[in-house]
Amino acid sequence: MISNDTLYLILTLLAFGAAFNLLLILRLNRTVRRLAAAFPRTMLQAGETVPALRGQALLGRTPLTVSGDGQPTALLFLSSACPKCRAKLPEISGLLPLAQQAGLTMLLVSMEPAWRLRRFLGTSPISQVAVCVRRQDYLALNPVMATPAYLLVGQSGMVEAAGIIGDDNWLALCEQLEAGEEPREAAA
């Protein structure tokens, strides 16, 4: 028969043991994240097929499906939790009419709650092209959750360029949009 004192001692050891175990799990999680950061995965690469995107337009909450339907598309990934993304809003807003003229569909893809995305975008015209998608769908497009990032999808539904907004490919695209050229050439 175990005495009460022994039982309390065992329970105490178990409680400390569980706490230590939890601490180890959290430490392990941090280590895994550090390791993952040391060997970063990349976004979808040029030539990969972009999965069909299903979501809801931020304005109007209408269902939306985007797939390789012959229309070149730039998928943009911005987050309200990323200060650099906020700084990119004016630049992207300025590109929207140019993209439209060039026949390039621009979409902001987000998995944030609509209220938060609305507040982030404010009165920016980007809210007209913002699409709210499920987390799983977002991660299929942007597995590393890179922001501010973009995917340039060609007419065939394949990735033609991917990277961080502001990189060489992006700047080339901007230059060509400003020059009124075809977006597909910019992505090549």
């Binding site: 601490l23 959290l26 999680n29 939790a81 982030f120």
Partner: protein, 175 residues
């Protein structure tokens, strides 16, 4: 010893440990905490220089008061509740307004505040209020090590709430 008395002891220990972790976490990353006060909370640089160590010192004193005994825990937790409520209210306001707030509340300066961090602060505030409202005035002696062990577990759970949530969500996404 009733279960309620035991639970109140455990809560007091957990709150004391949380305050200790908050003081230590901020103390070890004082420069980052000072910077966050300026960047995220709009405190002027000159004021942030003395406010940051003052908050750490206050939390250290409140830790000592909370863990020393039931009598000293009452004013200490009342002050801590006030501090937490003000801090959480500012944090929620900035979070809703700006979207990005860095806090270093428990020494995590590089990470932006998440809804789980806000939930953690609300839970801590609720525990403080519950203890102040219903805890008995007398000290209790039995089963202190067990209460302390469970308090350590609760403390780690609450501080790691954001990480635990992200681990669970990552599992959810696994194919």
């Amino acid at each position: 010893m009733s279960a309620a008395l035991f639970a109140f002891d455990m809560v007091r220990y957990a709150l004391g440990l949380l305050l200790a972790c908050a003081a230590l976490g901020k103390g070890f990353t004082l420069a980052a905490f000072r910077e966050n006060l300026y960047e995220s909370f709009g405190v002027p640089t000159a004021a942030a220089k003395w406010l940051a160590p003052l908050i750490v010192l206050t939390e250290a004193i409140l830790t000592a008061g909370t863990l020393a005994g039931v009598a000293s825990a009452r004013p200490a937790l009342a002050a801590a509740l006030l501090l937490f409520c003000v801090f959480t209210a500012v944090l929620v306001h900035r979070y809703l307004q700006e979207g990005v707030v860095r806090c270093a509340c428990f020494g995590e300066p590089g990470r932006a505040v998440s809804p789980f961090d806000l939930l953690r602060n609300l839970l801590i505030s609720a525990a403080m209020a519950a203890w102040l409202l219903w805890a008995p005035a007398s000290d209790t002696a039995a089963l202190q090590p067990l209460a302390a062990g469970l308090a350590v577990l609760c403390t780690i759970l609450l501080i790691g709430l954001h990480d635990i949530a992200s681990i669970l969500r990552a599992q959810e996404l696994a194919p």
